[in-house]
Symmetry: C2
């Protein structure tokens, strides 16, 4: 236990989950409740020094995370990562939980080392909403043509300029590589959009879902999707889906296949 005095630069990886309902997003902001704000406050208490964190995916207000990944560096080694994780959970509010704290290699970054991010978006089409699941779903409440939605989603796979699917920001680079994008029916009335990309620009998944929903309702045609991409204008893709249906599902760091966390 005397190893505490070892000094240098020590990098750590934190895996966490949160329900976004009562947070104004992940990123620290003055005077509002954010995941990063709560996390750094508690980290500074447990580790007895100010800690700055970097995350793999800066989720917006109301968006949830099943597996968010965060990196932090310290000048001292942590002896017992599991004990620190337990201490963090004792102090954190119940809507955020640390699943693991582990040592990472020097220079490793939750953000820049990530090879891909996977999100899921939950939609319910039943006419009456479900009070028990309402915080984690977009209750659209109308029938959707899932085949048409999958035809639209297929146009989004590949490397494209997603300016039409990104929150407008002057001069932001909006080219992304979407590797997978598909809708599936979990059970009657329960739809899930699964999307995996190198990275996402802001509101990209919710814009894709909003567009697919327009197609699924028959207001627009799947075949219009290439034109929407080409327009490079947020207005072209129609309304953005609400945040509460979106979950940051997993982040990939090029681990060998067998060590990847399994699907649930």
């Amino acid at each position: 236990m005397a190893a505490t005095q070892e000094t240098g630069v020590f990098t750590y990886r934190l895996d966490l989950a949160y329900e976004g309902t009562d947070f104004r997003g992940f990123a620290r902001q003055p005077r509002v409740r954010t995941v990063q704000g709560e996390l750094e406050k508690v980290l500074s208490v447990v580790l007895r020094e100010d800690v700055l964190t970097t995350c793999a995916g800066r989720t917006d207000a109301g968006v949830h995370a099943r597996r968010q990944v965060v990196s932090l560096t310290r000048s001292r080694r942590i002896d017992d990562e599991a004990a620190v994780a337990r201490s963090l959970n004792r102090l954190l509010p119940p809507d955020v939980r640390v699943n693991r704290l582990s040592r990472a290699g020097e220079g490793w970054s939750a953000r820049f080392s990530a090879e891909w991010r996977a999100y899921r978006y939950y939609v319910r089409t039943d006419p009456v909403s479900d009070p028990l699941g309402r915080r984690l779903v977009w209750h659209l409440g109308v029938p959707l043509d899932i085949d048409a939605m999958n035809r639209a989603a297929a146009f989004l796979v590949g490397t494209h300029d997603f300016a039409s699917f990104c929150r407008a920001a002057e001069g932001r680079y909006s080219v992304r590589e979407v590797r997978e994008a598909q809708w599936r029916v979990e059970k009657a009335g329960h739809l899930i959009f699964e999307v995996l990309a190198s990275s996402f620009c802001q509101q990209m998944v919710r814009s894709m879902v909003g567009w697919c929903a327009e197609v699924g309702r028959g207001r627009r045609e799947a075949s219009e999707t290439p034109g929407v991409l080409a327009a490079r204008s947020r207005q072209a893709a129609g309304p953005v889906a609400p945040p509460q249906g979106l979950v940051l599902w997993e982040v990939g760091y090029g681990e060998p296949e067998e060590s990847r966390p399994g699907d649930e």
Copy 2:
């Protein structure tokens, strides 16, 4: 549409779902937020008369319902039940929803016509709680011996005096017929207790779960269960499980098998 003037005694059945988190239980009480209180307030607005309701299962504070059933009688016929259900949902808070309003036979009662009630209780054994599911589960956070729990549950099936599993109440009749009671693993770390009985006394499911959890943790033996029943004392069964893991799952009115709502 002139049929509105038809008078007499008209009985209706309301199927509803609610998340119990922010309710002080189902039953109307002065000055606190209850499901029945919210429902009757909205019914009186939509139907333009005071309405008293009777339910199939009076759930306690914090307990949820996937399918609660309520009966009410009126002196006038409702022309369009679906339209009334939609109006109710427009006025109800998001944590309670009417799934159906339908005409029932004269003398039918949600409570007295019910042949059985089915509840489910959700337990999580993972060491770290899940922020996304936390409102609908008892996060026990320790490994449980499900085989031992099922041996304990098997002793509870049948017609017994459940005084040891009922909230103490002087002179209350506590004999019940439990038809099914079993634990199953939904996926790793996710346990579900499924129980079906003619009816339940207060806190009966939570007491059964509390007892099974004691057995599952190895603090008590499944073989002690008959002795706990015989003791006819609430103290014999150990701690009561918390309300948030419990869901009123379904109520049976002796419909033919094929018309029963399917399992999800």
